[in-house]
């Protein structure tokens, strides 16, 4: 039996960050709207909601916009993952390499996160200012929890986008599928208003959606919708569990190498 060729210049493991940092950065650098859209979209909805809702909901709506931004990443990841596979056969290039499925998928999610960071920074600054202005500055631990929640949502919704993208067969399907999935998830969970505003049956449905735990956890930690520590821990646990399940399902569903 032949022995594999060993060479120092033949790495046996790929690397995601150096490649997808360039891929993501160049994408937003060369398509300004790609960077601007994720920044403006949450503000467009935020402005609309601020007009039709009571003023005291503003901090909640800002947090909602941050979660909405991370939720929307799923749609972008879905689009990239599907179009690179369908339109350009680029996935094949990475499959037949030492990179590996997990690194490739992480790379796609990471390159899309780059485009969302400006929006998150602006919204975070706005949240800090609004809460400070109201005399309830956001404590350090709340920022940490908010960051953790945003990270979990990034992982979760990128996974959902990736899982769905694998089943998309043509370019035309990408937009409607992404639109349906992520807009419905956004509508069902109480991102922009307290869950108590929802009819009881809807509240029940909303509790089946991970974004609800994320929203309730952050709202609770910030004191917008007060909740007991046990309840917050429960939300955190459920969010973590949902994320783990999401990643597992994505890895099982994603067709890296069809059988």
């Amino acid at each position: 039996m032949a022995q594999p060729v060993r060479s120092a210049n033949l790495p046996t493991e790929g690397r995601s960050l150096p490649a997808f940092l360039i891929i993501g950065w160049r994408w937003i650098g060369r398509n300004p709207a790609v960077a601007i859209a994720p920044i403006l979209l949450p503000f467009i909805f935020l402005y609309f909601l601020s007009l039709i809702s009571p003023a005291e909901l503003l901090p909640l709506e800002i947090v909602g916009a941050m979660l909405f931004t991370l939720q929307n990443i799923g749609s972008w990841v879905l689009g990239d993952s599907a179009s690179w596979r369908i339109e350009a056969s680029l996935q094949d290039l990475f499959v037949a390499s030492p990179m590996g499925r997990l690194r490739y998928l992480f790379g796609i999610a990471f390159s899309n996160l780059i485009a969302m960071i400006p929006a998150l920074v602006i919204l975070g600054t706005l949240l800090g200012y609004v809460e400070w202005d109201r005399g309830t500055p956001v404590p350090f631990y709340a920022w940490l929890i908010l960051l953790g929640v945003l990270f979990a949502l990034w992982v979760l919704f990128s996974s959902i986008g990736i899982a769905i993208s694998s089943r998309v067969k043509t370019q035309r399907e990408i937009w409607p599928v992404g639109n349906l999935t992520f807009a419905v998830l956004g509508m069902l969970s109480p991102l922009y208003y307290p869950i108590s505003y929802l009819p009881p049956a809807w509240q029940l449905v909303a509790h089946g959606i991970p974004t609800t735990y994320a929203a309730l956890l952050v709202q609770g930690v910030l004191g917008i919708t007060p909740a007991a520590t046990d309840t917050l821990l429960l939300y955190a646990g459920l969010l973590g569990l949902s994320t783990a399940i999401g990643v597992t399902i994505a890895l099982r569903l994603y067709r890296w190498r069809p059988g």
Partner: protein
């Protein structure tokens, strides 16, 4: 120690899709590629070339059979084989929002190659593929041939020991094709192994140390281009205009193919004079030329189709 870079044994692949009967794309393909060889898979559309290449490059799982890359089981342990391979996929395109230089560099970095090595290999591949003038233009603005050269450059730059190229020169002009051929020949001189599929018989002849002709998911014949041509019974073809009625005698010289009124005879050089004398005696015009791979391919595939 065996020198095989790739070995497949009785490889089969059946595609199943709802509402349509299963399609047997590969029906027991056994192929061996030795280190440093350039091997081509020739076949009509749908013959199974790309399916084989996809399985060999770990993009697709076979239904049965075995496939080994440098001795590693590429079906069960693809992750062990992948560091040693790179593929130019059929109809593959570079990232549209990157330049060829960025495309090659990022791919090398994704494969775990260090920054400096990636940079130098990237420049070398750009030069090899003649992409200097467009290296900093967005791929979306490149012509089809330039995009294809970018894809080939991306894969060449990996310096992987085994390269798979599915229709590598598709869409390229004759000059660009020759440039790619030279580069691919240079790679094997450095020790790389190539397995490619192509529709271009001239490309297969120029590039390949050995060829496999595939039809209906089976290997019909294999060998060097010369061996395949010799299998026809001669290295010259004599086309006799209006040779109707002479076929019986002409068959005694070699294999005959009637094309309208003309009859083409494959003949050994030792009997050429005799055949030409025969044509002159019957006052027939005759043209002589070398047998090409096309005749070997057409006869091989044609017989298979007739048999079915």
């Amino acid at each position: 120690m065996s020198e095989e870079a790739l070995r497949s044994v009785d490889l089969r692949k059946t595609y199943h899709s709802r509402g349509t009967p299963p399609v047997e794309a590969l029906r027991g393909v056994s192929i061996e590629v030795r280190r440093g060889e350039r091997v081509s898979l020739l076949g009509r559309n749908g013959a199974g070339k790309t399916t084989f290449l996809k399985i060999a490059s770990t993009l697709l799982r076979p239904t049965s059979g075995t496939i080994e890359i440098f001795g590693e089981d590429a079906d069960r342990h693809p992750e062990r084989a992948r560091p040693y391979i790179a593929v130019v996929p059929q109809e593959g395109k570079p990232f549209f929002h990157l330049t060829p230089r960025e495309q090659i560099y990022t791919y090398l970095r994704a494969r775990g190659i260090g920054r400096e090595t990636a940079k130098s290999r990237c420049e070398a591949a750009i030069a090899q593929m003649g992409l200097e003038s467009v290296a900093d233009r967005l791929s979306i603005t490149l012509s089809g041939g330039q995009r294809q050269r970018t894809m080939v450059a991306t894969v060449i730059a990996t310096e992987a020991p085994l390269l798979f190229l599915d229709e590598p020169s598709i869409g390229m002009d004759p000059f660009a094709r020759r440039g790619v051929w030279d580069s691919l020949k240079g790679l094997t001189r450095k020790g790389s192994t190539l397995l490619l599929t192509t529709h271009y018989l001239d490309e297969a002849e120029v590039l390949s140390d050995r060829l496999y002709i595939i039809e209906g998911g089976r290997v019909l014949t294999a060998g060097t281009a010369d061996e395949l041509k010799r299998s026809l019974g001669g290295t010259l073809k004599v086309t006799i205009a209006d040779g109707r009625g002479l076929e019986e005698t002409l068959r005694s010289f070699g294999e005959c193919v009637a094309d309208g009124g003309a009859v083409t005879v494959i003949v050994d050089p030792s009997r050429l004079r005799e055949l030409l004398d025969f044509a002159v005696a019957h006052e027939k015009a005759a043209t002589v030329g070398p047998v090409t791979l096309e005749e070997a391919f057409l006869r091989s595939v044609g017989r298979s189709i007739n048999d079915e």
